[in-house]
Amino acid sequence: MEPSRGLSAPPGRALGAPIAGLALLAAGVVALPQLTRDSYYLDVATTILMNLALTMSLRLQVSTGQLNMAHISFMGIGAYASALLVTRVGISFWAALPIAAVVAALLAFPIGGLALRVTGPYYFLITFAFSEVVRLFFNNFFVDLFGGPLTFTTKLELYTLMAALLLVTAAVLVRLEHSRFGLVASAIRQGDLLAETLGVNVFRYKLTAYVVGSLVAGVAGAFFAHSHQVLHSSDFGLEPMVLLVVFTVIGGTGSVWGPVAGTVLMTIAGELLRELHHYESLVFGVVLILTMLWAPDGLVALPGKLARRRRVGVSLAP
């Protein structure tokens, strides 16, 4: 057996649950515009879908045990690449989208390759340093960059575009999770020394997760450039990055569906709290702290944990 090669599903692993999950996600995405055409709801839903692409791909990287604080920078690289290709080179958005994603993935090789030489706290700080370099670079060379003329003009068209991009992304990421790659990633997360001694090329797996995650971030960035039209370096700074971390971690990084739960719930909560201004980040901060203290594995791990506790409770009852 060659553990470091091949993406075929390991034998005996049920694919029913992930397919049901994807079907549910697709049904929700298709149903929303049937329920409402209100531009505010479509706008929020589009943002959720874009953030889902980002958090699900961030979680792919976390699934190998590493929290990449530069994830938002690859979204930025995709956004700036797409904007430059459309406005300076003059190609269409459809051609710019894949090129921007590939540019983000190609840059992920050297950056990921350098950062992944270290682990743990060193890794957060190094990726954070990279994200600041990238942000300062954008800030110095392109103050406010125009994202290009809109090919998709209505909110519904933008929603449909992002929905299509997300469903493809989600299908790929869920497939990856339930392949040999997902199994090895989870082995690495639980102890990369052990995985290494069993013959897994840990660095290659981590780099693959880094590059694939950055490719998805690049796609999200190209969409962002197209839909927001004006790019500013602070769109790719620490603040939006922290939001991605919050969404991903509160949902839970143990399952592909964790970031989905976290992103949807926290975005809706954020919209409801928007009236509160400064209290919004106060509430978010408190929720984040309490979640990490009481449910460090995230919301999706809670039902299983409660069930276990109840079972233990029954067995201990007189």
Binding site: V118, P121, L125, V133, L136, N140, V242, H278, L282, L293
Partner: protein, 286 residues
């Protein structure tokens, strides 16, 4: 270019760098004892700035007394944060890191709500300039740098000779072995976190008259502190001092040739160069 100009640029760079070393020492002390990266460290610096604003600029206490008060008050806030939150996260670096992001939000939002979002100016405690050997430095900068150096020396003496300081170093080496030797881990953790925060608070108090006080003031020094400890090696106190001197000289010399935005990129380029050669920093362990 004259030698004087170079020395002047280095001096300007070192002046502020000593204060950032103070912030970095707090960060690295907390990391070495608790294995926690406190991203909210800049918010303790901000707290020190506000204490200085209210006690010095509004109430009118003596500058050095205010500084002492800011150090104590922020240290106490650090002890509270450790007892309420971080003691449950000792050694859980990833979870603690995320919690500190939450704390950053809570502290920033609280500051915006209670102090307002606008900058508050703190008057200079010292005016005038000193000229010597063809160099010019403002008295204020001189006092700030010297106070930072005094605090760094005090920290060194505390960790080197005092009983709690030695307990901290023991815990940094091996918490279990320290506990077996009778070190009160809970007490040392709380004290270490408090002292780390107190250093940030002192730095905030020192720089409050140099820059204005605002809820977001912690972002710049904490980024500098992170650069310093990545260069020097996390958890290494001498590394933080050397990293600070290196960053100060690079930024000071860089400011002769380029604008302030480009100088900020320079610090990160030094980080990347150091990491290419030594991934764990100059003084980082194996």
């Amino acid at each position: 270019m004259s030698i004087d100009l170079l020395v002047q640029a280095l001096l300007n760079g070192f002046g502020l760098a000593m204060v950032y070393v103070l912030v970095a020492l707090g960060l690295t002390l907390i990391f070495s004892i608790l294995e926690i990266i406190n991203f909210a460290h800049g918010e303790f610096y901000m707290l020190g700035g506000y204490v200085t604003y209210y006690v010095f600029a509004v109430f009118g206490l003596n500058y050095f007394a205010t500084l002492g008060f800011a150090i104590l008050a922020v240290g106490l806030a650090g002890v509270v944060a450790e007892r309420l939150i971080f003691r449950y996260l000792r050694g859980k670096t990833l979870n603690a890191f995320i919690v500190s992001l939450g704390l950053l939000w809570v502290m920033q939002a609280s500051a915006q709500l209670s102090f307002g979002v606008l900058d508050k100016p703190v008057p200079s405690a010292f005016s005038g300039i000193v000229r010597a050997f063809g160099l010019v430095i403002s008295v204020e900068r001189l006092v700030v740098s010297l106070s930072a150096i005094v605090l760094i020396a005090a920290l060194y003496l505390f960790l080197r000779w005092s009983r709690p300081g030695r307990a901290m170093r023991a815990m940094a080496q091996d918490a279990d072995a320290a506990a077996l030797q009778g070190v009160d881990i809970e007490l040392v953790s709380a004290l270490g976190f408090g002292i780390g925060c107190a250093l940030a608070g002192g730095a905030g108090g020192l720089l409050a008259p140099v820059f204005a006080v605002s809820p977001a003031m912690g972002a710049l020094p904490v980024v500098k502190a992170f650069i310093i400890i990545i260069i020097g090696g996390m958890g290494s106190l001498p590394g933080a001092v050397v990293g600070g001197l290196l960053l100060g000289s690079v930024e000071g010399l860089g400011s002769l040739f380029m604008g302030s935005a480009a100088v900020n990129v320079l610090g990160f380029l030094v980080v990347i160069l150091v990491l290419l050669v030594r991934p764990r920093g100059l003084f980082g362990g194996a």
